[in-house]
């Protein structure tokens, strides 16, 4: 029984009871539980196997990201954003760069915009691939689908490494563009990865989507109504699985997303199965965007020459930059007072806000369903705790 504001510690907590008088079993899942995707804890009260209460407890990975951002120069926060959602450092970089560009009124060159779209869609591909793999792992398909997913993810990480120097902590984007241009042969390599990907997705779907065990396990589990999803501020694939057509790439058309033809897959029931399927379908659309972006990639500069790396001081003002990260709407809110450090640095993490309705999804379900519901929310604790 731990909360941050517990007035008095009770050494022997009083047992709680269900309506019919049966004693509830309180289980503390985590923080080191293989299903919790990092250091995350759920205090679950169980009536038999049914969940009657669930309290998420987090903060184990808190590292003061926002305050650190206010204490350092603008560029120094860029490598820290990699560590928010460490699966998707490219999109984190982009969201932060977008916020600063809005704040300082920087124009990004054409080629850099294309590079950003390419890296962001590759990030979405590898995030969704590994998420589906992890979800299968949570369901008890030990290893096999996850290893297939990681095999494909590794190809994309190799692309990231040859572009930015690091597999996961890319630190690739800069205010007004990108850090380095594509190395020789990168575009062909990316093209071959993109060309080979549909075959893998076909195999992956054959492996999973018509599997009766998987369907029995996921359909109707953790259903999220569109009303609740909207009211709770859920974004990303989770919101679209509930049937709400809201994709920032379409709604906001940030960057150059209005130039690409792609569809937004929507779910119907908002259950775990729909969330999984929406992600599988989104990967196909990402491939479409990648094909168009790689085909249209123009020549030119990749960095706005007027933007300085050092002594970067934007005019006083505020800006909110948001993008459709693989997990949902990732936003950075910055206030500048004209000095070299931001006056306020705020992150809107999709994982945290998608996690807020965990109890609503889990009430009345079995304890085993809690694991896959949490898996289908797609959280990364680096982003939840910041």
């Amino acid at each position: 029984m731990s909360t941050f504001s517990a007035p008095a510690m009770e050494l022997t907590p009083k047992p709680s009871y269900a309506a019919d008088g049966a004693q509830l079993l309180e289980v503390s899942m985590g923080p080191q539980h293989p299903s919790t995707h990092g250091v995350f804890r759920m205090d679950v009260a169980l009536d038999g196997e049914t969940v009657v209460k669930l309290k998420p407890i987090f903060g184990y990975l808190h590292r003061n990201h926002e305050k650190l951002g206010e204490d350092q120069s603008y560029i120094a926060s860029m490598p820290y954003t990699d560590r928010l959602d460490y699966f998707c450092s490219m999109t984190n970089n982009w969201a932060y760069a977008l916020a600063v560009e809005k704040l300082a009124g920087i124009v990004v060159p054409e080629r850099a915009e294309y590079l950003r779209v390419i890296t962001a869609e590759l990030t979405r591909l590898q995030n969704h691939t590994s998420l589906v793999g992890f979800l299968m792992q949570d369901m008890g398909a030990s290893g096999t689908p996850l290893m297939y997913a990681f095999r494909e993810r590794e190809k994309i990480l190799d692309l990231f490494e040859s572009l930015s120097g690091a597999r996961m902590m890319c630190n690739y984007m800069r205010f007004g563009g990108c850090r380095v241009d594509l190395p020789k042969g990168w575009q062909q390599q990316a093209q071959s990865v993109v060309d080979a990907y549909p075959k893998f997705l076909d195999e992956f779907e054959a492996l999973l989507t018509s599997n009766e065990i998987l369907m029995a396990r996921t359909q109707g589990v953790g259903a999220l109504s569109s009303e609740l999803a909207i009211a709770a501020g859920i974004t990303g694939p989770m919101l679209r699985a509930s049937g709400v057509n809201y994709d920032l790439r379409k709604v906001d058309a940030y960057g150059i997303y209005d130039r690409f033809q792609f569809r937004v897959p929507l779910g119907d029931h908002g259950d775990v199965y729909d969330r999984c399927m929406v992600r599988l379908l989104e990967m196909r659309e990402s491939l479409e965007i990648l094909k168009q972006a790689l085909r249209d990639l123009p020549e030119g500069p990749i960095q706005d020459p007027k933007t300085k790396v050092r002594n970067f001081k934007p005019k006083p003002g505020e800006a909110y930059g948001r993008i459709e990260a693989p997990k949902g709407e990732l936003g950075f809110y910055l206030i500048s007072d004209g000095s070299a450090n931001p006056y306020r640095f705020r992150v809107r993490p999709p994982s945290l806000i998608n996690l807020t309705i965990l109890e609503d999804l889990c009430l009345g379900r079995n304890i085993a369903d809690v694991v896959i519901i949490l898996g289908s929310v797609d959280i990364v604790m680096g982003e939840v705790d910041r």
């Binding site: 120094a76 860029m78 096999t144 040859s162 380095v180 190395p183 195999e203 790396v309 050092r310």
Partner: protein, 197 residues
């Protein structure tokens, strides 16, 4: 019919299992300590200091301007300026670091120090076999352990090093018309001239 989906999935598993015997695509694992994957040129681990020529103290490019120390996000660089001056890579009299430490247990390999360095003195290494028995002294690298030759830099990042050398040669040519210190300039060109051309 119930069970068809499971069988379809098992066919995929079988295809991957038997495919791993014949197809490179499906067998991507390596026997790590014996085999390693080919190194990607752009990859980076931790920073090192470049020196020209054969003497690391004489040829060190760092002029102790302390910009990297100031810009480093986790503040893992510690520099102490020298009391006297010596000629730098382009033959100009400059300070040098009396002390230059990088705590690589703090460093997060973001390479912002490399980006802000105006003298091309600090670059990213690629060595990742960095296990140490003492977590304090072994991971706090001093000036001597950080210094690596320009030839080593060429070896690990050939494309990048070539363009850096071209830039430095251009800067040296620009500085050359003034006959400032012919003796020291000769020392410097002996160090980097060959690599640049």
């Amino acid at each position: 019919m119930l069970g068809v989906g499971v069988l379809k999935g098992l066919v995929e598993t079988a295809r991957n299992f038997f495919g791993s015997y014949v197809s490179e695509e499906r067998l991507t694992t390596l026997q790590y300590p014996e085999e390693t994957s080919p190194r990607i040129e752009a990859s980076r681990s931790f920073p090192f200091l470049v020196y020209d020529g054969s003497d690391w103290q004489q040829g060190m490019r760092c002029v102790s301007c302390q910009i990297c120390e100031k810009e480093c996000p986790p503040k893992c660089i510690f520099i102490e300026k020298s009391p006297d001056k010596k000629p730098d890579a382009v033959g100009k009299m400059q300070f040098y670091p009396a002390k230059f430490d990088i705590d690589i247990s703090v460093c997060m390999s973001c390479q912002i120090c490399v980006e802000v360095c105006p003298f091309d003195a600090i670059k990213m290494d690629v060595d990742y076999n960095l296990s140490a028995t003492n977590r304090f002294s072994d991971l706090l690298l001093d000036k001597e352990r950080l210094s690596k030759s320009n030839e080593y830099y060429h070896e690990i990042h050939p494309t990048e090093a070539a363009s850096v050398d071209a830039d430095l040669a251009a800067a040296r040519e620009k500085a050359a018309p003034k006959p400032a210190a012919p003796a020291t300039a000769a020392v410097q060109t002996a160090g980097t001239g060959g690599a640049a051309s």
